[in-house]
Amino acid sequence: MASNGREIVFAGTDGGAVTTLDDYVARGGFKQLKKARKLAPQEVTEQVTQADLRGRGGAAFPTGRKWSFLPSKEQVPKPHYLVVNADESEPGSFKDREIMERVPFRFLEGCLIAAHAIEATHVYVYIRGEYDRPFEVLRDALEQMHAENGLLGGVTIVLHRGAGAYICGEETALLESLEGERGQPRTKPPFPAIAGLYASPTAVNNVESIATVVPILELGAAEYAEIGVENSTGTRVFSLSGTVVNGGNYELESGTTLRHLIYELGGGIPNGRQLKAICPGGLSAPLLSGDQVDTGLDIPSLTAAGSAIGSAGVIVLDDRCCIVEYALRASRFYEHESCGKCTPCRVGTRWLSQLLQALEDGRGTHADLDLLLDVCDRVNGKCLCPLGDSDALVVASCFEKFGDEFRAHVEQGGCPFPDSPLDDVLAPVVMHERHRMHRELEVVA
Protein backbone atom coordinates (compact mmCIF):
# COMPACT_ATOMS: atom_id res chain seq x y z
CA MET A 1 0.00 0.00 0.00
CA ALA A 2 1.31 3.40 -0.95
CA SER A 3 2.20 5.85 1.76
CA ASN A 4 1.69 9.59 1.76
CA GLY A 5 4.35 10.31 4.32
CA ARG A 6 8.12 10.71 4.18
CA GLU A 7 9.53 7.41 3.03
CA ILE A 8 12.80 6.22 4.46
CA VAL A 9 12.28 2.51 4.98
CA PHE A 10 10.28 2.24 1.75
CA ALA A 11 12.32 4.88 -0.13
CA GLY A 12 12.82 4.19 -3.82
CA THR A 13 9.96 1.74 -4.18
CA ASP A 14 7.39 4.11 -5.75
CA GLY A 15 4.70 2.10 -4.02
CA GLY A 16 5.99 -1.17 -5.47
CA ALA A 17 8.65 -3.68 -4.51
CA VAL A 18 12.38 -3.91 -5.27
CA THR A 19 12.99 -7.64 -5.47
CA THR A 20 15.88 -7.98 -7.89
CA LEU A 21 19.45 -7.36 -6.83
CA ASP A 22 20.25 -5.39 -10.01
CA ASP A 23 17.31 -3.11 -9.38
CA TYR A 24 18.36 -2.52 -5.80
CA VAL A 25 21.98 -1.82 -6.72
CA ALA A 26 20.85 0.56 -9.49
CA ARG A 27 19.02 2.53 -6.81
CA GLY A 28 22.16 2.84 -4.70
CA GLY A 29 21.77 -0.43 -2.83
CA PHE A 30 24.66 -1.91 -0.84
CA LYS A 31 26.61 1.37 -0.92
CA GLN A 32 26.06 1.77 2.82
CA LEU A 33 27.34 -1.75 3.46
CA LYS A 34 30.57 -0.92 1.64
CA LYS A 35 30.84 2.27 3.64
CA ALA A 36 30.15 0.45 6.93
CA ARG A 37 32.74 -2.22 6.26
CA LYS A 38 35.39 0.50 6.00
CA LEU A 39 34.44 1.70 9.48
CA ALA A 40 35.34 0.08 12.78
CA PRO A 41 32.37 -1.83 14.25
CA GLN A 42 32.12 0.63 17.15
CA GLU A 43 31.85 3.52 14.70
CA VAL A 44 28.78 1.97 13.09
CA THR A 45 27.19 1.40 16.49
CA GLU A 46 28.03 4.99 17.41
CA GLN A 47 26.13 6.31 14.37
CA VAL A 48 23.06 4.26 15.23
CA THR A 49 23.25 5.56 18.80
CA GLN A 50 23.57 9.16 17.59
CA ALA A 51 20.55 8.71 15.34
CA ASP A 52 18.69 7.63 18.50
CA LEU A 53 17.14 4.65 16.73
CA ARG A 54 14.63 3.00 19.08
CA GLY A 55 13.65 -0.62 18.61
CA ARG A 56 10.61 -0.99 16.38
CA GLY A 57 9.42 -4.30 17.79
CA GLY A 58 7.59 -2.93 20.79
CA ALA A 59 9.93 -2.15 23.66
CA ALA A 60 11.51 0.92 21.98
CA PHE A 61 14.92 0.13 23.45
CA PRO A 62 17.77 2.16 21.89
CA THR A 63 19.31 -0.10 19.23
CA GLY A 64 22.82 1.34 19.42
CA ARG A 65 22.92 0.88 23.18
CA LYS A 66 21.73 -2.71 22.81
CA TRP A 67 24.64 -3.40 20.44
CA SER A 68 27.11 -1.69 22.76
CA PHE A 69 26.21 -4.16 25.54
CA LEU A 70 27.86 -7.02 23.66
CA PRO A 71 31.27 -7.76 25.14
CA SER A 72 34.30 -7.54 22.87
CA LYS A 73 35.72 -10.70 21.35
CA GLU A 74 38.75 -10.23 23.57
CA GLN A 75 36.59 -10.17 26.69
CA VAL A 76 34.47 -13.16 25.66
CA PRO A 77 36.06 -15.38 23.02
CA LYS A 78 32.80 -16.80 21.65
CA PRO A 79 30.98 -16.26 18.37
CA HIS A 80 28.62 -13.29 18.27
CA TYR A 81 25.17 -13.68 16.77
CA LEU A 82 22.65 -11.35 15.19
CA VAL A 83 19.12 -12.66 15.54
CA VAL A 84 16.39 -10.78 13.70
CA ASN A 85 12.93 -10.98 15.16
CA ALA A 86 10.63 -11.41 12.15
CA ASP A 87 8.04 -13.24 14.21
CA GLU A 88 5.58 -10.37 13.80
CA SER A 89 2.46 -11.66 15.55
CA GLU A 90 1.12 -8.71 17.51
CA PRO A 91 -2.56 -8.30 16.60
CA GLY A 92 -2.93 -5.07 14.65
CA SER A 93 0.67 -5.10 13.44
CA PHE A 94 1.63 -6.16 9.91
CA LYS A 95 4.45 -3.79 8.96
CA ASP A 96 7.40 -6.17 8.96
CA ARG A 97 5.77 -8.42 6.39
CA GLU A 98 5.49 -5.50 3.99
CA ILE A 99 9.09 -4.43 4.65
CA MET A 100 10.32 -7.96 3.87
CA GLU A 101 8.12 -8.19 0.78
CA ARG A 102 8.85 -4.75 -0.69
CA VAL A 103 12.41 -3.93 0.39
CA PRO A 104 14.00 -7.33 1.06
CA PHE A 105 17.46 -6.15 0.01
CA ARG A 106 17.38 -3.05 2.23
CA PHE A 107 16.52 -5.37 5.10
CA LEU A 108 19.28 -7.83 4.20
CA GLU A 109 21.80 -5.00 3.73
CA GLY A 110 20.80 -3.86 7.23
CA CYS A 111 21.46 -7.38 8.51
CA LEU A 112 24.98 -7.31 7.07
CA ILE A 113 25.71 -3.84 8.45
CA ALA A 114 24.44 -4.87 11.89
CA ALA A 115 26.48 -8.08 11.72
CA HIS A 116 29.55 -5.95 11.04
CA ALA A 117 28.71 -3.65 13.97
CA ILE A 118 28.49 -6.52 16.44
CA GLU A 119 31.19 -8.65 14.76
CA ALA A 120 28.85 -11.53 13.95
CA THR A 121 29.38 -14.03 11.17
CA HIS A 122 25.98 -15.68 11.60
CA VAL A 123 22.60 -14.00 11.22
CA TYR A 124 19.40 -15.87 12.03
CA VAL A 125 16.16 -14.40 10.76
CA TYR A 126 13.36 -15.97 12.81
CA ILE A 127 10.32 -15.49 10.58
CA ARG A 128 6.84 -16.48 11.67
CA GLY A 129 5.64 -19.69 10.06
CA GLU A 130 2.43 -18.14 8.72
CA TYR A 131 4.35 -15.64 6.58
CA ASP A 132 4.56 -17.64 3.36
CA ARG A 133 5.16 -14.81 0.91
CA PRO A 134 7.71 -12.79 2.93
CA PHE A 135 9.72 -15.97 3.45
CA GLU A 136 9.79 -16.70 -0.27
CA VAL A 137 10.78 -13.15 -1.14
CA LEU A 138 13.67 -13.23 1.35
CA ARG A 139 14.77 -16.67 0.17
CA ASP A 140 14.87 -15.49 -3.44
CA ALA A 141 16.72 -12.32 -2.46
CA LEU A 142 19.30 -14.33 -0.53
CA GLU A 143 19.83 -16.62 -3.50
CA GLN A 144 20.58 -13.61 -5.67
CA MET A 145 23.05 -12.34 -3.08
CA HIS A 146 24.81 -15.71 -2.93
CA ALA A 147 25.51 -15.42 -6.65
CA GLU A 148 27.25 -12.07 -6.15
CA ASN A 149 30.84 -12.59 -5.07
CA GLY A 150 31.91 -10.92 -1.86
CA LEU A 151 28.56 -9.38 -1.07
CA LEU A 152 27.89 -11.53 1.97
CA GLY A 153 31.48 -11.03 3.11
CA GLY A 154 31.70 -14.37 4.89
CA VAL A 155 28.45 -13.85 6.77
CA THR A 156 25.88 -16.66 6.77
CA ILE A 157 22.24 -15.58 6.84
CA VAL A 158 19.79 -18.33 7.83
CA LEU A 159 16.02 -18.00 7.45
CA HIS A 160 14.44 -19.95 10.29
CA ARG A 161 10.68 -20.45 10.19
CA GLY A 162 8.55 -20.41 13.34
CA ALA A 163 5.52 -22.63 13.71
CA GLY A 164 2.72 -20.55 15.16
CA ALA A 165 3.45 -19.22 18.63
CA TYR A 166 2.97 -15.53 19.51
CA ILE A 167 5.24 -15.94 22.52
CA CYS A 168 8.22 -16.49 20.21
CA GLY A 169 8.16 -12.76 19.51
CA GLU A 170 9.52 -12.33 23.05
CA GLU A 171 13.28 -12.29 22.56
CA THR A 172 14.30 -15.01 25.00
CA ALA A 173 11.41 -17.30 23.96
CA LEU A 174 12.56 -16.74 20.39
CA LEU A 175 16.09 -17.81 21.34
CA GLU A 176 14.76 -20.92 23.07
CA SER A 177 12.73 -21.76 19.97
CA LEU A 178 15.75 -21.15 17.75
CA GLU A 179 17.74 -23.56 19.90
CA GLY A 180 15.13 -26.22 19.24
CA GLU A 181 13.27 -25.92 22.52
CA ARG A 182 9.68 -25.05 23.36
CA GLY A 183 9.31 -21.29 22.99
CA GLN A 184 9.23 -20.33 26.65
CA PRO A 185 10.88 -17.15 27.98
CA ARG A 186 14.05 -17.29 30.01
CA THR A 187 14.72 -15.51 33.25
CA LYS A 188 16.74 -12.35 32.80
CA PRO A 189 19.54 -11.66 33.57
CA PRO A 190 21.59 -12.83 31.83
CA PHE A 191 20.42 -10.69 28.91
CA PRO A 192 20.96 -11.89 25.35
CA ALA A 193 23.83 -9.43 24.85
CA ILE A 194 25.81 -11.48 27.39
CA ALA A 195 24.33 -14.97 26.99
CA GLY A 196 21.88 -15.23 24.11
CA LEU A 197 21.87 -17.80 21.34
CA TYR A 198 23.94 -20.85 22.36
CA ALA A 199 24.91 -18.88 25.48
CA SER A 200 26.91 -16.50 23.28
CA PRO A 201 26.69 -12.71 22.98
CA THR A 202 23.64 -11.98 20.82
CA ALA A 203 21.77 -8.94 19.53
CA VAL A 204 18.07 -9.48 18.91
CA ASN A 205 16.54 -6.79 16.70
CA ASN A 206 13.25 -6.20 14.92
CA VAL A 207 12.99 -6.22 11.10
CA GLU A 208 12.14 -2.52 10.81
CA SER A 209 14.99 -1.53 13.16
CA ILE A 210 17.43 -3.43 11.00
CA ALA A 211 16.05 -2.02 7.74
CA THR A 212 16.32 1.49 9.19
CA VAL A 213 20.06 1.13 9.80
CA VAL A 214 20.70 1.54 6.06
CA PRO A 215 19.06 4.99 5.67
CA ILE A 216 20.69 6.11 8.94
CA LEU A 217 24.11 5.58 7.37
CA GLU A 218 22.93 7.08 4.10
CA LEU A 219 21.54 10.28 5.61
CA GLY A 220 24.01 10.47 8.46
CA ALA A 221 22.99 10.18 12.10
CA ALA A 222 22.51 13.92 12.62
CA GLU A 223 20.18 14.35 9.66
CA TYR A 224 18.21 11.24 10.57
CA ALA A 225 17.77 12.50 14.14
CA GLU A 226 16.19 15.67 12.74
CA ILE A 227 13.27 13.64 11.41
CA GLY A 228 10.39 12.97 13.77
CA VAL A 229 10.46 14.32 17.31
CA GLU A 230 12.89 14.30 20.21
CA ASN A 231 13.20 10.85 21.85
CA SER A 232 11.28 9.36 18.93
CA THR A 233 13.34 10.06 15.86
CA GLY A 234 12.79 9.07 12.26
CA THR A 235 9.80 7.49 10.62
CA ARG A 236 7.66 4.56 11.68
CA VAL A 237 5.68 2.20 9.52
CA PHE A 238 2.19 2.35 11.03
CA SER A 239 -0.23 -0.50 10.40
CA LEU A 240 -3.80 0.78 10.26
CA SER A 241 -6.76 -1.56 10.71
CA GLY A 242 -10.18 -1.96 12.29
CA THR A 243 -13.16 0.19 11.34
CA VAL A 244 -11.40 2.48 8.91
CA VAL A 245 -11.92 2.97 5.17
CA ASN A 246 -8.34 2.43 3.96
CA GLY A 247 -6.50 -0.07 6.10
CA GLY A 248 -2.85 -0.76 5.32
CA ASN A 249 0.68 0.36 6.15
CA TYR A 250 1.70 4.01 6.19
CA GLU A 251 5.24 5.20 6.72
CA LEU A 252 5.08 8.51 8.56
CA GLU A 253 7.31 10.78 10.56
CA SER A 254 7.06 10.07 14.27
CA GLY A 255 4.81 12.67 15.87
CA THR A 256 2.13 12.62 13.17
CA THR A 257 -1.26 12.67 14.91
CA LEU A 258 -3.65 9.76 15.11
CA ARG A 259 -6.22 12.07 13.53
CA HIS A 260 -4.08 12.58 10.44
CA LEU A 261 -3.48 8.84 10.06
CA ILE A 262 -7.08 7.78 10.63
CA TYR A 263 -8.95 10.57 8.81
CA GLU A 264 -6.59 12.01 6.18
CA LEU A 265 -4.77 8.88 5.11
CA GLY A 266 -7.13 6.18 6.33
CA GLY A 267 -10.25 7.84 4.92
CA GLY A 268 -12.00 7.96 8.29
CA ILE A 269 -14.63 5.69 9.78
CA PRO A 270 -16.93 3.98 7.25
CA ASN A 271 -20.73 4.26 7.07
CA GLY A 272 -20.91 7.57 8.93
CA ARG A 273 -20.02 5.94 12.25
CA GLN A 274 -18.27 7.74 15.08
CA LEU A 275 -14.83 7.00 16.49
CA LYS A 276 -15.06 5.32 19.88
CA ALA A 277 -11.62 4.05 20.85
CA ILE A 278 -8.14 3.51 19.43
CA CYS A 279 -5.49 0.95 20.17
CA PRO A 280 -2.35 2.85 19.05
CA GLY A 281 0.47 0.34 19.25
CA GLY A 282 -0.67 -3.21 18.62
CA LEU A 283 -3.12 -5.09 20.85
CA SER A 284 -0.82 -4.99 23.89
CA ALA A 285 -0.86 -1.18 23.99
CA PRO A 286 -3.49 0.14 26.45
CA LEU A 287 -6.64 1.46 24.79
CA LEU A 288 -7.16 5.18 24.15
CA SER A 289 -10.60 6.77 24.05
CA GLY A 290 -11.81 8.47 20.85
CA ASP A 291 -11.28 11.96 22.27
CA GLN A 292 -7.52 11.28 22.39
CA VAL A 293 -7.37 11.28 18.59
CA ASP A 294 -5.14 14.36 18.52
CA THR A 295 -2.34 12.51 20.30
CA GLY A 296 0.92 12.35 18.38
CA LEU A 297 2.15 8.96 17.18
CA ASP A 298 5.49 9.04 18.95
CA ILE A 299 7.00 7.50 22.06
CA PRO A 300 6.71 10.47 24.48
CA SER A 301 3.18 11.50 23.41
CA LEU A 302 1.68 8.02 23.58
CA THR A 303 3.39 7.30 26.87
CA ALA A 304 2.02 10.55 28.32
CA ALA A 305 -1.45 9.56 27.04
CA GLY A 306 -1.25 6.37 29.11
CA SER A 307 -0.46 4.00 26.27
CA ALA A 308 2.57 3.03 24.20
CA ILE A 309 3.79 3.12 20.61
CA GLY A 310 4.50 -0.62 20.83
CA SER A 311 4.75 -2.11 17.36
CA ALA A 312 2.83 0.82 15.80
CA GLY A 313 -0.27 -1.17 14.94
CA VAL A 314 -3.23 1.21 15.09
CA ILE A 315 -6.61 -0.48 15.56
CA VAL A 316 -9.67 1.76 15.16
CA LEU A 317 -12.95 0.93 16.93
CA ASP A 318 -16.22 2.61 15.91
CA ASP A 319 -19.22 3.26 18.15
CA ARG A 320 -20.83 -0.11 17.50
CA CYS A 321 -17.99 -1.92 19.29
CA CYS A 322 -18.51 -3.21 22.79
CA ILE A 323 -15.39 -2.58 24.87
CA VAL A 324 -16.08 -5.58 27.15
CA GLU A 325 -16.09 -7.74 24.02
CA TYR A 326 -12.84 -6.10 22.91
CA ALA A 327 -11.28 -6.91 26.29
CA LEU A 328 -12.68 -10.44 26.12
CA ARG A 329 -11.35 -11.14 22.63
CA ALA A 330 -7.97 -9.72 23.63
CA SER A 331 -7.91 -11.81 26.78
CA ARG A 332 -8.78 -14.99 24.90
CA PHE A 333 -5.84 -14.28 22.61
CA TYR A 334 -3.42 -14.00 25.52
CA GLU A 335 -4.98 -17.06 27.17
CA HIS A 336 -4.42 -19.06 23.98
CA GLU A 337 -0.87 -17.79 23.52
CA SER A 338 0.30 -18.04 27.14
CA CYS A 339 3.22 -20.47 27.15
CA GLY A 340 2.21 -21.80 30.57
CA LYS A 341 5.58 -21.30 32.20
CA CYS A 342 4.56 -18.91 34.97
CA THR A 343 1.41 -19.13 37.04
CA PRO A 344 0.10 -15.54 37.06
CA CYS A 345 -0.07 -15.56 33.25
CA ARG A 346 -1.21 -19.16 32.77
CA VAL A 347 -4.03 -18.86 35.32
CA GLY A 348 -4.67 -15.12 35.24
CA THR A 349 -5.35 -14.87 31.50
CA ARG A 350 -7.98 -17.60 31.87
CA TRP A 351 -9.56 -15.90 34.87
CA LEU A 352 -9.81 -12.65 32.95
CA SER A 353 -11.47 -14.41 29.99
CA GLN A 354 -13.97 -16.15 32.25
CA LEU A 355 -14.90 -12.99 34.17
CA LEU A 356 -15.35 -11.02 30.96
CA GLN A 357 -17.42 -13.84 29.45
CA ALA A 358 -19.65 -13.80 32.54
CA LEU A 359 -20.23 -10.07 32.02
CA GLU A 360 -21.11 -10.68 28.39
CA ASP A 361 -23.49 -13.49 29.29
CA GLY A 362 -25.30 -11.37 31.88
CA ARG A 363 -23.97 -13.42 34.78
CA GLY A 364 -21.60 -10.72 36.02
CA THR A 365 -21.96 -8.94 39.35
CA HIS A 366 -20.44 -5.78 40.77
CA ALA A 367 -18.21 -8.03 42.86
CA ASP A 368 -16.93 -9.57 39.61
CA LEU A 369 -15.80 -6.12 38.49
CA ASP A 370 -13.73 -5.77 41.64
CA LEU A 371 -12.39 -9.26 41.10
CA LEU A 372 -11.52 -8.42 37.49
CA LEU A 373 -9.34 -5.51 38.57
CA ASP A 374 -7.89 -7.59 41.38
CA VAL A 375 -6.82 -10.30 38.92
CA CYS A 376 -5.26 -7.64 36.66
CA ASP A 377 -3.32 -6.43 39.66
CA ARG A 378 -2.17 -9.94 40.53
CA VAL A 379 -0.93 -10.61 37.00
CA ASN A 380 0.68 -7.32 36.05
CA GLY A 381 4.37 -7.15 36.87
CA LYS A 382 4.45 -10.69 38.21
CA CYS A 383 5.29 -12.61 35.03
CA LEU A 384 8.60 -13.53 33.43
CA CYS A 385 7.71 -11.78 30.19
CA PRO A 386 5.24 -9.10 29.09
CA LEU A 387 2.54 -11.48 27.76
CA GLY A 388 0.52 -11.78 30.95
CA ASP A 389 1.21 -8.14 31.83
CA SER A 390 -0.23 -7.11 28.47
CA ASP A 391 -3.53 -8.87 29.11
CA ALA A 392 -3.81 -7.21 32.52
CA LEU A 393 -2.90 -3.77 31.16
CA VAL A 394 -5.32 -4.01 28.21
CA VAL A 395 -8.24 -5.13 30.39
CA ALA A 396 -7.45 -2.53 33.06
CA SER A 397 -7.20 0.24 30.44
CA CYS A 398 -10.57 -0.78 28.97
CA PHE A 399 -12.11 -0.56 32.44
CA GLU A 400 -10.42 2.73 33.21
CA LYS A 401 -11.63 4.38 29.99
CA PHE A 402 -15.01 2.66 29.65
CA GLY A 403 -15.96 1.65 33.22
CA ASP A 404 -19.57 2.68 32.62
CA GLU A 405 -19.90 0.02 29.94
CA PHE A 406 -18.66 -2.66 32.30
CA ARG A 407 -21.16 -1.55 34.96
CA ALA A 408 -23.93 -1.44 32.34
CA HIS A 409 -23.27 -5.12 31.57
CA VAL A 410 -23.97 -5.90 35.22
CA GLU A 411 -26.96 -3.60 35.61
CA GLN A 412 -28.66 -4.56 32.34
CA GLY A 413 -27.89 -8.25 32.74
CA GLY A 414 -25.87 -8.54 29.54
CA CYS A 415 -24.33 -6.70 26.61
CA PRO A 416 -25.95 -3.36 25.73
CA PHE A 417 -24.40 -3.39 22.22
CA PRO A 418 -26.44 -5.78 20.07
CA ASP A 419 -24.78 -4.57 16.85
CA SER A 420 -21.20 -4.97 18.03
CA PRO A 421 -19.14 -6.76 15.38
CA LEU A 422 -17.10 -8.36 18.16
CA ASP A 423 -20.13 -10.25 19.48
CA ASP A 424 -19.68 -14.01 19.87
CA VAL A 425 -16.48 -14.35 17.87
CA LEU A 426 -15.05 -17.83 17.74
CA ALA A 427 -11.48 -17.56 19.01
CA PRO A 428 -9.14 -20.56 18.67
CA VAL A 429 -9.20 -21.11 22.43
CA VAL A 430 -13.02 -21.24 22.36
CA MET A 431 -12.94 -23.58 19.37
CA HIS A 432 -10.75 -26.01 21.27
CA GLU A 433 -13.26 -26.15 24.10
CA ARG A 434 -16.23 -26.47 21.79
CA HIS A 435 -14.45 -29.27 20.01
CA ARG A 436 -13.71 -31.06 23.29
CA MET A 437 -17.36 -30.75 24.36
CA HIS A 438 -18.50 -32.16 21.07
CA ARG A 439 -16.23 -35.16 21.53
CA GLU A 440 -17.46 -35.86 25.03
CA LEU A 441 -21.01 -35.85 23.76
CA GLU A 442 -20.02 -38.39 21.16
CA VAL A 443 -18.68 -40.66 23.86
CA VAL A 444 -21.89 -40.37 25.88
CA ALA A 445 -24.02 -41.13 22.83
Partner: protein
Protein backbone atom coordinates in the same frame (compact mmCIF):
# COMPACT_ATOMS: atom_id res chain seq x y z
CA UNK B 1 11.79 -42.00 4.14
CA UNK B 2 15.47 -41.81 3.32
CA UNK B 3 14.93 -38.65 1.28
CA UNK B 4 13.27 -36.86 4.21
CA UNK B 5 16.06 -37.78 6.59
CA UNK B 6 18.72 -36.66 4.13
CA UNK B 7 16.92 -33.36 3.76
CA UNK B 8 16.78 -33.01 7.55
CA UNK B 9 20.49 -33.78 7.97
CA UNK B 10 21.32 -31.01 5.49
CA UNK B 11 19.87 -28.53 7.99
CA UNK B 12 22.27 -29.45 10.77
CA UNK B 13 25.38 -27.51 9.60
CA UNK B 14 23.37 -24.27 9.62
CA UNK B 15 23.38 -24.28 13.41
CA UNK B 16 25.87 -24.65 16.26
CA UNK B 17 23.57 -27.21 17.91
CA UNK B 18 21.74 -29.90 15.95
CA UNK B 19 18.60 -29.45 18.09
CA UNK B 20 18.04 -26.12 16.35
CA UNK B 21 17.13 -28.17 13.30
CA UNK B 22 14.22 -29.87 15.11
CA UNK B 23 11.63 -27.22 14.26
CA UNK B 24 12.50 -26.95 10.55
CA UNK B 25 12.73 -30.75 10.46
CA UNK B 26 9.24 -31.10 11.91
CA UNK B 27 7.95 -28.73 9.20
CA UNK B 28 9.53 -30.97 6.56
CA UNK B 29 8.24 -34.16 8.17
CA UNK B 30 4.73 -32.79 8.45
CA UNK B 31 4.78 -31.86 4.79
CA UNK B 32 5.98 -35.34 3.86
CA UNK B 33 3.28 -37.00 5.96
CA UNK B 34 0.17 -35.35 4.56
CA UNK B 35 -0.01 -32.34 6.83
CA UNK B 36 0.38 -33.93 10.25
CA UNK B 37 2.89 -35.73 12.43
CA UNK B 38 2.13 -39.38 13.13
CA UNK B 39 4.46 -41.24 15.49
CA UNK B 40 6.45 -42.51 12.52
CA UNK B 41 7.23 -38.92 11.50
CA UNK B 42 8.47 -38.04 14.97
CA UNK B 43 10.65 -41.15 14.95
CA UNK B 44 12.16 -40.25 11.59
CA UNK B 45 13.02 -36.74 12.77
CA UNK B 46 14.41 -38.12 16.02
CA UNK B 47 16.63 -40.61 14.23
CA UNK B 48 17.94 -38.08 11.74
CA UNK B 49 18.86 -35.60 14.46
CA UNK B 50 19.89 -38.04 17.17
CA UNK B 51 17.28 -36.89 19.68
CA UNK B 52 14.43 -38.91 21.20
CA UNK B 53 10.94 -39.12 19.67
CA UNK B 54 9.61 -37.80 23.00
CA UNK B 55 11.75 -34.71 22.57
CA UNK B 56 10.24 -34.16 19.13
CA UNK B 57 6.75 -34.62 20.57
CA UNK B 58 7.41 -32.06 23.30
CA UNK B 59 8.39 -29.53 20.64
CA UNK B 60 5.60 -30.41 18.21
CA UNK B 61 2.95 -30.12 20.89
CA UNK B 62 3.97 -26.54 21.66
CA UNK B 63 3.39 -25.01 18.23
CA UNK B 64 0.00 -24.35 16.62
CA UNK B 65 1.15 -25.05 13.07
CA UNK B 66 2.32 -28.56 13.89
CA UNK B 67 -0.54 -31.06 13.94
CA UNK B 68 -0.56 -34.18 16.06
CA UNK B 69 -3.84 -35.40 14.59
CA UNK B 70 -4.73 -36.02 10.97
CA UNK B 71 -6.00 -33.05 8.96
CA UNK B 72 -7.91 -32.88 5.69
CA UNK B 73 -6.18 -32.69 2.33
CA UNK B 74 -7.22 -29.05 2.33
CA UNK B 75 -6.90 -26.97 5.49
CA UNK B 76 -8.85 -23.70 5.67
CA UNK B 77 -8.06 -21.34 8.51
CA UNK B 78 -9.85 -18.08 9.27
CA UNK B 79 -8.27 -15.33 11.38
CA UNK B 80 -10.76 -14.17 14.03
CA UNK B 81 -8.57 -11.76 15.92
CA UNK B 82 -9.86 -8.26 16.60
CA UNK B 83 -9.25 -6.43 13.32
CA UNK B 84 -10.61 -9.30 11.25
CA UNK B 85 -13.50 -9.87 13.68
CA UNK B 86 -14.53 -6.22 13.47
CA UNK B 87 -14.72 -6.60 9.72
CA UNK B 88 -16.83 -9.74 9.66
CA UNK B 89 -14.48 -12.69 10.22
CA UNK B 90 -17.17 -14.56 12.16
CA UNK B 91 -19.49 -14.30 9.15
CA UNK B 92 -16.71 -15.53 6.87
CA UNK B 93 -16.16 -18.48 9.20
CA UNK B 94 -19.87 -19.31 9.29
CA UNK B 95 -20.04 -19.13 5.50
CA UNK B 96 -17.21 -21.69 5.33
CA UNK B 97 -19.01 -23.90 7.85
CA UNK B 98 -22.08 -23.82 5.65
CA UNK B 99 -20.35 -24.31 2.31
CA UNK B 100 -17.98 -27.02 3.53
CA UNK B 101 -20.48 -28.77 5.78
CA UNK B 102 -18.07 -28.92 8.73
CA UNK B 103 -17.88 -26.97 11.94
CA UNK B 104 -14.80 -24.97 12.88
CA UNK B 105 -12.26 -27.26 14.48
CA UNK B 106 -13.42 -30.29 12.54
CA UNK B 107 -12.43 -32.36 9.52
CA UNK B 108 -15.05 -33.52 7.03
CA UNK B 109 -15.99 -37.19 7.23
CA UNK B 110 -14.38 -37.96 3.87
CA UNK B 111 -11.13 -36.50 5.18
CA UNK B 112 -11.05 -33.88 2.44
CA UNK B 113 -11.15 -30.64 4.38
CA UNK B 114 -10.34 -29.24 7.83
CA UNK B 115 -11.76 -25.89 8.94
CA UNK B 116 -10.28 -23.91 11.78
CA UNK B 117 -9.72 -20.50 13.27
CA UNK B 118 -6.32 -18.94 13.87
CA UNK B 119 -4.98 -16.07 15.90
CA UNK B 120 -3.80 -12.89 14.17
CA UNK B 121 -2.42 -13.79 10.75
CA UNK B 122 -0.67 -10.44 10.31
CA UNK B 123 -2.82 -8.87 7.60
CA UNK B 124 -5.15 -6.82 9.82
CA UNK B 125 -5.54 -3.92 7.40
CA UNK B 126 -6.81 -6.25 4.69
CA UNK B 127 -9.41 -8.16 6.71
CA UNK B 128 -10.54 -10.90 6.65
CA UNK B 129 -7.36 -12.93 6.31
CA UNK B 130 -7.66 -16.65 5.64
CA UNK B 131 -5.08 -19.31 4.88
CA UNK B 132 -5.69 -22.23 2.54
CA UNK B 133 -3.04 -24.89 3.08
CA UNK B 134 -0.96 -22.19 4.76
CA UNK B 135 -1.17 -19.84 1.74
CA UNK B 136 -2.66 -16.57 2.87
CA UNK B 137 -5.48 -14.73 1.13
CA UNK B 138 -6.60 -11.29 2.26
CA UNK B 139 -9.75 -9.20 1.99
CA UNK B 140 -12.10 -12.20 2.06
CA UNK B 141 -15.79 -11.33 2.45
CA UNK B 142 -18.60 -13.77 3.31
CA UNK B 143 -19.84 -13.48 -0.28
CA UNK B 144 -16.47 -14.70 -1.59
CA UNK B 145 -16.63 -17.99 0.27
CA UNK B 146 -18.78 -19.94 -2.18
CA UNK B 147 -16.35 -19.23 -5.04
CA UNK B 148 -13.35 -20.14 -2.88
CA UNK B 149 -14.91 -23.48 -1.92
CA UNK B 150 -15.79 -24.20 -5.55
CA UNK B 151 -12.20 -23.43 -6.52
CA UNK B 152 -10.90 -25.80 -3.83
CA UNK B 153 -13.23 -28.57 -4.97
CA UNK B 154 -12.37 -27.97 -8.62
CA UNK B 155 -8.70 -28.30 -7.85
CA UNK B 156 -9.02 -31.83 -6.54
Amino acid sequence: MKALQDEIRELVPLYADRRSAVLPALHLAQHAHGGWLPEAALEEVAEALDVTPAYCLSIASFYDMLNLEPVGRTVVEVCTNISCAINGAQQVLEAFEEELGVRAGETSEDGEVTLGTIECAGGCGWATVIAVNHRQRVGVQPDDVRAIVEELRGGE
